[in-house]
Protein backbone atom coordinates (compact mmCIF):
# COMPACT_ATOMS: atom_id res chain seq x y z
CA UNK A 1 0.00 0.00 0.00
CA UNK A 2 2.82 2.38 0.97
CA UNK A 3 4.71 1.63 -2.24
CA UNK A 4 1.63 2.24 -4.30
CA UNK A 5 0.97 5.59 -2.60
CA UNK A 6 4.56 6.61 -3.20
CA UNK A 7 4.30 5.64 -6.87
CA UNK A 8 1.07 7.56 -7.27
CA UNK A 9 2.61 10.62 -5.62
CA UNK A 10 5.55 10.36 -7.99
CA UNK A 11 3.23 10.06 -10.95
CA UNK A 12 1.30 13.10 -9.77
CA UNK A 13 4.55 15.04 -9.51
CA UNK A 14 5.48 14.03 -13.08
CA UNK A 15 2.10 15.08 -14.45
CA UNK A 16 2.27 18.36 -12.50
CA UNK A 17 5.75 19.12 -13.80
CA UNK A 18 4.71 18.33 -17.38
CA UNK A 19 1.72 20.66 -16.97
CA UNK A 20 3.99 23.42 -15.67
CA UNK A 21 6.27 23.01 -18.70
CA UNK A 22 3.33 23.18 -21.10
CA UNK A 23 1.85 26.22 -19.38
CA UNK A 24 5.16 28.07 -19.20
CA UNK A 25 5.95 27.47 -22.87
CA UNK A 26 2.58 28.56 -24.23
CA UNK A 27 3.24 31.89 -26.02
CA UNK A 28 0.87 34.73 -25.20
CA UNK A 29 0.09 35.25 -28.91
CA UNK A 30 -1.89 31.99 -28.96
CA UNK A 31 -2.75 31.63 -25.28
CA UNK A 32 -6.32 31.82 -23.98
CA UNK A 33 -6.66 34.83 -21.69
CA UNK A 34 -7.69 32.66 -18.75
CA UNK A 35 -4.28 30.95 -18.84
CA UNK A 36 -2.33 34.18 -18.80
CA UNK A 37 -1.66 34.30 -15.08
CA UNK A 38 -1.07 30.53 -14.64
CA UNK A 39 1.37 30.63 -17.54
CA UNK A 40 3.33 33.54 -16.10
CA UNK A 41 3.41 31.88 -12.68
CA UNK A 42 4.59 28.58 -14.17
CA UNK A 43 7.34 30.38 -16.07
CA UNK A 44 8.37 32.29 -12.95
CA UNK A 45 8.47 29.15 -10.77
CA UNK A 46 10.45 27.07 -13.27
CA UNK A 47 12.95 29.82 -14.03
CA UNK A 48 13.62 30.32 -10.32
CA UNK A 49 15.22 26.88 -10.26
CA UNK A 50 16.92 27.22 -13.63
CA UNK A 51 14.40 25.37 -15.81
CA UNK A 52 13.60 26.98 -19.16
CA UNK A 53 10.51 25.49 -20.79
CA UNK A 54 11.22 27.11 -24.14
CA UNK A 55 12.72 30.17 -25.77
CA UNK A 56 11.31 32.32 -28.57
CA UNK A 57 13.94 32.19 -31.31
CA UNK A 58 14.16 34.60 -34.27
CA UNK A 59 11.38 36.68 -32.74
CA UNK A 60 10.70 39.69 -34.98
CA UNK A 61 8.27 42.55 -34.31
CA UNK A 62 4.66 41.99 -35.41
CA UNK A 63 4.93 44.36 -38.38
CA UNK A 64 6.87 43.42 -41.50
CA UNK A 65 10.57 44.20 -41.28
CA UNK A 66 11.52 46.59 -44.07
CA UNK A 67 14.84 47.72 -42.67
CA UNK A 68 17.28 44.84 -42.62
CA UNK A 69 19.50 45.28 -39.57
CA UNK A 70 23.07 44.33 -40.42
CA UNK A 71 24.34 43.96 -36.86
CA UNK A 72 24.09 45.35 -33.35
CA UNK A 73 27.29 47.35 -33.23
CA UNK A 74 28.69 48.10 -29.80
CA UNK A 75 31.77 50.24 -29.34
CA UNK A 76 33.48 50.74 -26.00
CA UNK A 77 35.98 53.54 -25.43
CA UNK A 78 38.11 54.17 -22.38
CA UNK A 79 39.14 57.72 -21.37
CA UNK A 80 42.14 58.54 -19.21
CA UNK A 81 42.27 61.49 -16.79
CA UNK A 82 43.45 63.79 -19.60
CA UNK A 83 40.44 62.83 -21.72
CA UNK A 84 42.42 60.79 -24.24
CA UNK A 85 40.27 58.04 -25.74
CA UNK A 86 41.15 54.47 -26.62
CA UNK A 87 38.84 52.03 -28.42
CA UNK A 88 38.58 48.85 -26.31
CA UNK A 89 35.97 46.98 -28.33
CA UNK A 90 35.48 45.86 -30.99
CA UNK A 91 39.09 45.18 -31.99
CA UNK A 92 40.13 47.82 -34.52
CA UNK A 93 36.99 49.80 -33.78
CA UNK A 94 35.12 48.52 -36.86
CA UNK A 95 31.77 46.76 -36.65
CA UNK A 96 31.42 43.61 -38.76
CA UNK A 97 28.59 44.06 -41.26
CA UNK A 98 29.66 42.11 -44.33
CA UNK A 99 31.64 38.97 -45.18
CA UNK A 100 32.13 35.49 -43.80
CA UNK A 101 32.79 34.54 -40.21
CA UNK A 102 32.25 31.17 -38.66
CA UNK A 103 32.15 32.27 -35.05
CA UNK A 104 31.38 35.49 -33.24
CA UNK A 105 34.26 36.59 -31.00
CA UNK A 106 33.31 35.97 -27.36
CA UNK A 107 33.77 39.56 -26.15
CA UNK A 108 31.44 40.80 -28.90
CA UNK A 109 28.89 38.13 -28.03
CA UNK A 110 29.05 38.91 -24.31
CA UNK A 111 28.69 42.68 -24.79
CA UNK A 112 25.79 42.23 -27.17
CA UNK A 113 24.04 39.74 -24.88
CA UNK A 114 24.50 42.00 -21.86
CA UNK A 115 23.14 45.10 -23.60
CA UNK A 116 20.28 43.45 -25.48
CA UNK A 117 19.12 40.72 -23.13
CA UNK A 118 20.01 41.91 -19.65
CA UNK A 119 18.27 44.72 -17.80
CA UNK A 120 19.23 48.32 -17.04
CA UNK A 121 20.98 49.54 -14.95
CA UNK A 122 22.76 46.29 -13.97
CA UNK A 123 24.07 45.70 -17.49
CA UNK A 124 25.39 49.27 -17.79
CA UNK A 125 27.17 48.94 -14.48
CA UNK A 126 28.56 45.46 -15.30
CA UNK A 127 30.03 46.60 -18.62
CA UNK A 128 31.33 49.92 -17.32
CA UNK A 129 32.90 48.35 -14.26
CA UNK A 130 34.50 45.51 -16.26
CA UNK A 131 36.32 47.94 -18.55
CA UNK A 132 37.39 50.04 -15.56
CA UNK A 133 38.58 47.28 -13.26
CA UNK A 134 38.55 43.97 -15.17
CA UNK A 135 41.79 42.00 -15.19
CA UNK A 136 42.54 42.95 -18.81
CA UNK A 137 42.07 46.69 -18.28
CA UNK A 138 42.83 47.62 -14.67
CA UNK A 139 46.48 48.51 -15.43
CA UNK A 140 45.35 51.31 -17.75
CA UNK A 141 43.46 53.06 -14.96
CA UNK A 142 40.76 54.59 -17.12
CA UNK A 143 38.75 57.44 -15.60
CA UNK A 144 35.62 56.94 -17.70
CA UNK A 145 34.11 54.41 -20.08
CA UNK A 146 31.79 55.21 -22.99
CA UNK A 147 29.49 52.55 -24.47
CA UNK A 148 27.79 53.31 -27.79
CA UNK A 149 25.32 50.96 -29.50
CA UNK A 150 24.05 51.58 -33.01
CA UNK A 151 22.42 49.53 -35.77
CA UNK A 152 23.51 49.84 -39.41
CA UNK A 153 20.68 48.94 -41.81
CA UNK A 154 19.67 48.49 -45.44
CA UNK A 155 16.15 49.16 -46.65
CA UNK A 156 14.62 46.04 -48.20
CA UNK A 157 12.65 47.96 -50.87
CA UNK A 158 14.84 50.91 -51.81
CA UNK A 159 18.31 49.54 -51.03
CA UNK A 160 19.05 52.73 -49.07
CA UNK A 161 21.55 52.32 -46.22
CA UNK A 162 22.01 54.15 -42.92
CA UNK A 163 22.47 53.73 -39.19
CA UNK A 164 20.27 54.17 -36.15
CA UNK A 165 21.96 55.18 -32.88
CA UNK A 166 20.22 53.15 -30.18
CA UNK A 167 21.88 54.00 -26.93
CA UNK A 168 24.96 55.66 -25.46
CA UNK A 169 26.19 56.15 -21.92
CA UNK A 170 29.26 57.25 -20.01
CA UNK A 171 30.42 55.41 -16.87
CA UNK A 172 32.74 56.85 -14.21
CA UNK A 173 35.27 54.39 -12.80
CA UNK A 174 35.98 55.93 -9.36
CA UNK A 175 33.60 56.18 -7.61
CA UNK A 176 31.60 53.80 -9.77
CA UNK A 177 28.46 55.36 -11.21
CA UNK A 178 26.80 56.37 -14.45
CA UNK A 179 27.54 59.94 -15.58
CA UNK A 180 24.92 60.25 -18.32
CA UNK A 181 22.91 58.15 -20.77
CA UNK A 182 20.82 58.83 -23.89
CA UNK A 183 18.35 56.49 -25.57
CA UNK A 184 17.84 57.00 -29.32
CA UNK A 185 20.14 60.01 -29.59
CA UNK A 186 20.20 62.03 -32.82
CA UNK A 187 23.45 62.43 -34.76
CA UNK A 188 23.56 66.10 -33.65
CA UNK A 189 23.21 65.09 -30.02
CA UNK A 190 25.97 62.51 -30.43
CA UNK A 191 28.26 65.21 -31.82
CA UNK A 192 27.42 67.50 -28.91
CA UNK A 193 28.21 64.69 -26.46
CA UNK A 194 31.55 64.06 -28.17
CA UNK A 195 30.60 60.56 -29.35
CA UNK A 196 32.71 60.17 -32.46
CA UNK A 197 31.24 58.51 -35.55
CA UNK A 198 31.93 54.79 -35.62
CA UNK A 199 32.57 52.53 -38.59
Amino acid sequence: MGDRRLRDAGLLALVGYAALLALAAWPEEVRPGALDLPSRLANFALRKVGIVAGVPVYEPPRQRIVRLELNDCIRVRGFDRQGRAEVLAPPGGACFTSGVRFTIPWPELALRSLLLRSTKPTNQAAIGDYFCHGRRFRERRFAEIEVFWWVPWRDLRSGETGRTPVFVYRWQCRPAHILWERTGPSEDELRRLGVEPAG
Binding site: Y17, P27, G54, V57, E59, S98, A110, T122, A126, G134
Partner: protein
Protein backbone atom coordinates in the same frame (compact mmCIF):
# COMPACT_ATOMS: atom_id res chain seq x y z
CA UNK B 1 -18.98 5.03 -12.68
CA UNK B 2 -15.31 5.33 -11.75
CA UNK B 3 -14.28 3.21 -14.69
CA UNK B 4 -13.22 6.01 -17.04
CA UNK B 5 -11.01 7.94 -14.56
CA UNK B 6 -9.40 4.72 -13.36
CA UNK B 7 -8.67 3.67 -16.94
CA UNK B 8 -7.29 7.14 -17.71
CA UNK B 9 -5.02 7.02 -14.65
CA UNK B 10 -3.80 3.58 -15.68
CA UNK B 11 -3.06 4.87 -19.18
CA UNK B 12 -1.12 7.85 -17.77
CA UNK B 13 0.78 5.52 -15.44
CA UNK B 14 1.62 3.20 -18.31
CA UNK B 15 2.67 6.08 -20.55
CA UNK B 16 5.06 7.52 -17.97
CA UNK B 17 6.33 4.42 -16.25
CA UNK B 18 6.37 1.53 -18.75
CA UNK B 19 9.91 0.55 -19.76
CA UNK B 20 11.23 2.40 -22.81
CA UNK B 21 14.40 2.01 -24.90
CA UNK B 22 17.33 4.03 -23.62
CA UNK B 23 18.90 4.72 -27.01
CA UNK B 24 17.46 8.22 -27.48
CA UNK B 25 18.53 9.39 -24.04
CA UNK B 26 21.97 7.84 -24.52
CA UNK B 27 22.41 9.85 -27.74
CA UNK B 28 21.30 12.95 -25.83
CA UNK B 29 23.80 12.16 -23.06
CA UNK B 30 26.65 12.04 -25.58
CA UNK B 31 25.42 15.20 -27.35
CA UNK B 32 24.89 17.25 -24.17
CA UNK B 33 28.15 16.11 -22.57
CA UNK B 34 30.15 16.88 -25.71
CA UNK B 35 28.39 20.24 -26.07
CA UNK B 36 29.21 21.32 -22.53
CA UNK B 37 32.79 20.15 -22.91
CA UNK B 38 33.27 22.03 -26.20
CA UNK B 39 31.49 25.15 -24.96
CA UNK B 40 33.57 25.45 -21.80
CA UNK B 41 36.84 24.37 -23.44
CA UNK B 42 36.48 27.08 -26.11
CA UNK B 43 35.64 29.69 -23.45
CA UNK B 44 38.69 28.79 -21.37
CA UNK B 45 40.72 31.90 -22.43
CA UNK B 46 37.78 34.06 -21.23
CA UNK B 47 36.79 32.00 -18.17
CA UNK B 48 37.92 34.68 -15.71
CA UNK B 49 36.34 37.48 -17.76
CA UNK B 50 32.98 35.74 -17.77
CA UNK B 51 32.96 34.04 -14.38
CA UNK B 52 35.93 35.23 -12.30
CA UNK B 53 36.01 37.80 -9.48
CA UNK B 54 37.52 40.40 -11.84
CA UNK B 55 35.13 39.59 -14.68
CA UNK B 56 31.69 40.89 -15.65
CA UNK B 57 29.74 41.44 -12.40
CA UNK B 58 32.15 39.35 -10.32
CA UNK B 59 33.06 39.64 -6.65
CA UNK B 60 35.06 42.84 -7.29
CA UNK B 61 32.01 44.46 -8.88
CA UNK B 62 29.84 43.60 -5.88
CA UNK B 63 32.50 44.92 -3.51
CA UNK B 64 32.34 48.28 -5.31
CA UNK B 65 28.56 48.21 -5.87
CA UNK B 66 27.18 46.08 -3.01
CA UNK B 67 23.54 46.89 -3.78
CA UNK B 68 23.66 45.85 -7.42
CA UNK B 69 21.36 42.88 -8.17
CA UNK B 70 22.70 39.60 -9.59
CA UNK B 71 23.33 39.57 -13.32
CA UNK B 72 20.83 36.75 -13.79
CA UNK B 73 17.38 38.29 -13.46
CA UNK B 74 15.30 35.13 -13.03
CA UNK B 75 16.92 32.40 -10.93
CA UNK B 76 16.77 32.27 -7.16
CA UNK B 77 19.62 34.26 -5.61
CA UNK B 78 21.19 31.20 -3.97
CA UNK B 79 22.07 29.83 -7.39
CA UNK B 80 24.11 32.96 -8.19
CA UNK B 81 26.60 32.15 -5.43
CA UNK B 82 29.61 32.12 -7.80
CA UNK B 83 29.35 35.89 -8.25
CA UNK B 84 30.49 36.25 -4.64
CA UNK B 85 33.53 33.94 -4.93
CA UNK B 86 36.52 36.25 -4.50
CA UNK B 87 39.17 33.77 -5.64
CA UNK B 88 40.24 33.29 -9.25
CA UNK B 89 41.91 29.90 -8.49
CA UNK B 90 38.67 28.55 -6.96
CA UNK B 91 36.75 29.55 -10.09
CA UNK B 92 39.42 27.89 -12.22
CA UNK B 93 39.26 24.65 -10.21
CA UNK B 94 35.45 24.53 -10.51
CA UNK B 95 35.74 25.30 -14.21
CA UNK B 96 38.27 22.50 -14.69
CA UNK B 97 36.07 20.10 -12.72
CA UNK B 98 33.16 20.96 -14.99
CA UNK B 99 35.27 20.30 -18.08
CA UNK B 100 36.37 16.88 -16.81
CA UNK B 101 32.85 15.96 -15.67
CA UNK B 102 31.28 16.96 -19.00
CA UNK B 103 33.81 14.90 -20.95
CA UNK B 104 33.36 11.91 -18.62
CA UNK B 105 29.58 12.16 -18.99
CA UNK B 106 29.82 12.20 -22.79
CA UNK B 107 32.07 9.14 -22.67
CA UNK B 108 29.89 7.40 -20.08
CA UNK B 109 32.55 7.18 -17.37
CA UNK B 110 31.04 7.08 -13.86
CA UNK B 111 28.04 8.33 -15.75
CA UNK B 112 25.60 9.33 -13.05
CA UNK B 113 28.24 10.96 -10.85
CA UNK B 114 29.96 12.82 -13.69
CA UNK B 115 26.57 13.88 -15.10
CA UNK B 116 25.42 15.20 -11.73
CA UNK B 117 28.63 17.18 -11.24
CA UNK B 118 28.42 18.61 -14.77
CA UNK B 119 24.76 19.51 -14.28
CA UNK B 120 25.26 21.31 -10.96
CA UNK B 121 28.38 23.21 -12.05
CA UNK B 122 26.86 24.23 -15.40
CA UNK B 123 23.78 25.49 -13.57
CA UNK B 124 25.96 27.55 -11.22
CA UNK B 125 28.12 29.02 -13.99
CA UNK B 126 25.04 29.82 -16.09
CA UNK B 127 23.32 31.43 -13.10
CA UNK B 128 26.49 33.47 -12.46
CA UNK B 129 26.54 34.89 -16.01
CA UNK B 130 23.92 33.71 -18.53
CA UNK B 131 25.23 36.26 -21.06
CA UNK B 132 28.39 34.26 -21.64
CA UNK B 133 26.35 31.93 -23.86
CA UNK B 134 23.43 31.96 -26.22
CA UNK B 135 20.09 30.80 -24.78
CA UNK B 136 20.86 27.12 -25.37
CA UNK B 137 22.78 27.06 -22.09
CA UNK B 138 19.64 27.74 -20.07
CA UNK B 139 17.43 25.44 -22.08
CA UNK B 140 19.79 22.45 -21.83
CA UNK B 141 19.71 22.28 -18.01
CA UNK B 142 16.46 20.32 -17.56
CA UNK B 143 17.03 17.96 -20.54
CA UNK B 144 20.52 17.33 -19.17
CA UNK B 145 18.92 16.42 -15.84
CA UNK B 146 16.70 13.82 -17.58
CA UNK B 147 19.76 12.14 -19.08
CA UNK B 148 21.42 12.11 -15.65
CA UNK B 149 18.35 10.64 -13.95
CA UNK B 150 17.96 7.86 -16.52
CA UNK B 151 20.51 5.01 -16.48
CA UNK B 152 22.17 6.28 -19.66
CA UNK B 153 25.51 4.77 -18.70
CA UNK B 154 24.23 1.32 -19.70
CA UNK B 155 24.87 1.85 -23.43
CA UNK B 156 27.70 3.29 -25.51
CA UNK B 157 29.74 4.05 -22.41
CA UNK B 158 33.00 3.33 -20.67
CA UNK B 159 30.91 2.04 -17.76
CA UNK B 160 29.36 -0.66 -20.00
CA UNK B 161 32.77 -1.49 -21.43
CA UNK B 162 34.21 -1.94 -17.92
CA UNK B 163 31.31 -4.24 -17.02
CA UNK B 164 32.01 -6.38 -20.07
CA UNK B 165 35.71 -6.54 -19.21
CA UNK B 166 34.87 -7.72 -15.70
CA UNK B 167 32.70 -10.46 -17.24
CA UNK B 168 29.49 -9.05 -15.78
CA UNK B 169 26.28 -9.39 -17.83
CA UNK B 170 25.07 -6.36 -19.81
CA UNK B 171 22.31 -4.34 -18.22
CA UNK B 172 18.92 -4.04 -19.98
CA UNK B 173 18.60 -1.58 -22.88
CA UNK B 174 15.30 -0.38 -21.44
CA UNK B 175 14.35 1.46 -18.26
CA UNK B 176 11.35 3.20 -16.71
CA UNK B 177 9.99 5.61 -19.29
CA UNK B 178 9.53 8.86 -17.37
CA UNK B 179 12.89 10.51 -18.15
CA UNK B 180 12.31 9.82 -21.84
CA UNK B 181 8.77 11.19 -21.61
CA UNK B 182 9.98 14.36 -19.88
CA UNK B 183 12.60 14.82 -22.59
CA UNK B 184 9.98 14.40 -25.31
CA UNK B 185 7.59 16.82 -23.60
CA UNK B 186 10.38 19.35 -23.17
CA UNK B 187 11.33 19.14 -26.85
CA UNK B 188 7.70 19.90 -27.71
CA UNK B 189 7.44 22.83 -25.29
CA UNK B 190 10.62 24.24 -26.83
CA UNK B 191 9.18 24.16 -30.34
CA UNK B 192 5.87 25.57 -29.09
CA UNK B 193 7.63 28.48 -27.36
CA UNK B 194 9.90 29.07 -30.34
CA UNK B 195 7.37 28.91 -33.13
CA UNK B 196 3.77 29.43 -32.04
CA UNK B 197 4.45 33.09 -31.34
CA UNK B 198 5.40 33.52 -35.01
CA UNK B 199 1.91 33.06 -36.36
CA UNK B 200 1.09 36.77 -36.12
CA UNK B 201 4.49 38.03 -37.27
CA UNK B 202 4.37 39.38 -40.80
CA UNK B 203 8.00 38.67 -41.63
CA UNK B 204 7.41 34.97 -40.96
CA UNK B 205 4.06 34.84 -42.76
CA UNK B 206 5.43 36.67 -45.81
CA UNK B 207 8.41 34.30 -45.91
CA UNK B 208 11.09 36.94 -45.29
CA UNK B 209 12.50 35.87 -41.95
CA UNK B 210 15.38 33.75 -43.30
CA UNK B 211 16.46 36.72 -45.44
CA UNK B 212 16.30 38.94 -42.34
CA UNK B 213 18.35 36.46 -40.27
CA UNK B 214 20.97 35.81 -42.96
CA UNK B 215 21.53 39.53 -43.51
CA UNK B 216 22.31 40.14 -39.84
CA UNK B 217 25.87 39.52 -38.67
CA UNK B 218 24.54 38.65 -35.24
CA UNK B 219 23.22 35.36 -36.62
CA UNK B 220 24.63 34.80 -40.09
CA UNK B 221 27.89 33.13 -40.97
CA UNK B 222 27.64 34.60 -44.50
CA UNK B 223 26.70 38.26 -44.27
CA UNK B 224 25.89 39.35 -47.83
CA UNK B 225 23.07 40.94 -49.73
CA UNK B 226 20.83 37.88 -50.06
CA UNK B 227 17.89 39.65 -51.75
CA UNK B 228 18.53 37.91 -55.11
CA UNK B 229 17.96 34.57 -53.34
CA UNK B 230 14.69 35.65 -51.82
CA UNK B 231 12.41 33.15 -53.64
CA UNK B 232 14.50 30.25 -52.33
CA UNK B 233 14.81 31.78 -48.86
CA UNK B 234 11.04 32.26 -48.78
CA UNK B 235 10.60 28.49 -49.21
CA UNK B 236 13.13 27.96 -46.44
CA UNK B 237 11.18 30.31 -44.13
CA UNK B 238 7.87 28.59 -44.73
CA UNK B 239 9.47 25.14 -44.45
CA UNK B 240 11.06 25.99 -41.10
CA UNK B 241 7.82 27.57 -39.87
CA UNK B 242 5.74 24.52 -40.82
CA UNK B 243 8.18 22.02 -39.32
CA UNK B 244 8.46 23.85 -36.01
CA UNK B 245 4.84 24.97 -35.57
CA UNK B 246 3.51 21.45 -36.14
CA UNK B 247 6.26 19.65 -34.21
CA UNK B 248 4.53 19.64 -30.79
CA UNK B 249 1.63 17.73 -32.36
CA UNK B 250 3.07 15.66 -35.18
CA UNK B 251 6.10 14.35 -33.27
CA UNK B 252 3.64 12.14 -31.33
CA UNK B 253 2.03 10.56 -34.36
CA UNK B 254 3.29 6.96 -34.79
CA UNK B 255 5.71 6.56 -37.72
CA UNK B 256 5.18 10.15 -38.95
CA UNK B 257 6.67 11.44 -35.70
CA UNK B 258 10.03 9.83 -36.39
CA UNK B 259 10.12 11.26 -39.91
CA UNK B 260 9.13 14.66 -38.52
CA UNK B 261 12.00 14.42 -36.03
CA UNK B 262 14.41 13.67 -38.87
CA UNK B 263 12.99 16.65 -40.78
CA UNK B 264 13.76 18.83 -37.76
CA UNK B 265 17.26 17.36 -37.56
CA UNK B 266 17.76 18.32 -41.23
CA UNK B 267 16.48 21.83 -40.45
CA UNK B 268 18.97 22.19 -37.59
CA UNK B 269 21.83 20.90 -39.76
CA UNK B 270 20.93 23.51 -42.37
CA UNK B 271 20.77 26.23 -39.71
CA UNK B 272 24.11 25.10 -38.32
CA UNK B 273 25.70 25.51 -41.76
CA UNK B 274 24.59 29.10 -42.26
CA UNK B 275 23.95 30.64 -38.84
CA UNK B 276 25.86 31.43 -35.65
CA UNK B 277 23.61 30.54 -32.73
CA UNK B 278 26.02 28.86 -30.37
CA UNK B 279 25.14 25.24 -29.64
CA UNK B 280 21.39 25.50 -30.18
CA UNK B 281 21.38 23.13 -33.12
CA UNK B 282 23.54 20.46 -31.49
CA UNK B 283 21.39 20.59 -28.36
CA UNK B 284 18.13 20.26 -30.30
CA UNK B 285 19.48 17.48 -32.54
CA UNK B 286 20.60 15.60 -29.40
CA UNK B 287 17.22 16.07 -27.71
CA UNK B 288 15.31 15.03 -30.85
CA UNK B 289 16.99 11.61 -30.69
CA UNK B 290 14.38 10.80 -28.03
CA UNK B 291 11.79 10.69 -30.82
CA UNK B 292 13.55 8.60 -33.44
CA UNK B 293 15.96 6.26 -31.66
CA UNK B 294 16.08 3.31 -31.75
CA UNK B 295 15.00 3.19 -35.39
CA UNK B 296 14.08 -0.50 -35.16
CA UNK B 297 11.99 -0.67 -31.99
CA UNK B 298 11.83 -4.47 -31.75
CA UNK B 299 15.57 -4.75 -31.08
CA UNK B 300 15.20 -2.71 -27.91
CA UNK B 301 12.24 -4.44 -26.29
CA UNK B 302 12.95 -6.15 -23.00
CA UNK B 303 13.42 -9.90 -23.15
Amino acid sequence: MLGAPVRALAAVRRWFLAPQPLDGLVAARIGFGATLFAAYALRLPYAQDFFGPGGFAGAGFYARLPFAPPLHPHVTETLTVLRLVDSAPVILVLYGTLLVAALAFALGAFTRTSGSVALVLHLLFWARNPYAYWDWAGFVIAPLAYTVLAPTGRLASLDAWRRRRRGEPSLPRTATGWPLRLMQIHVCTMYAAASWSRVDKQSWILGEMVLVALTNATHSRFVFDWTAWQPLLRLGTWGALGLEVLAPVLLWVPRLGRLWALGLVALHLGLEAVTNVGYWNVVMISALASFWLPWRRETARPA
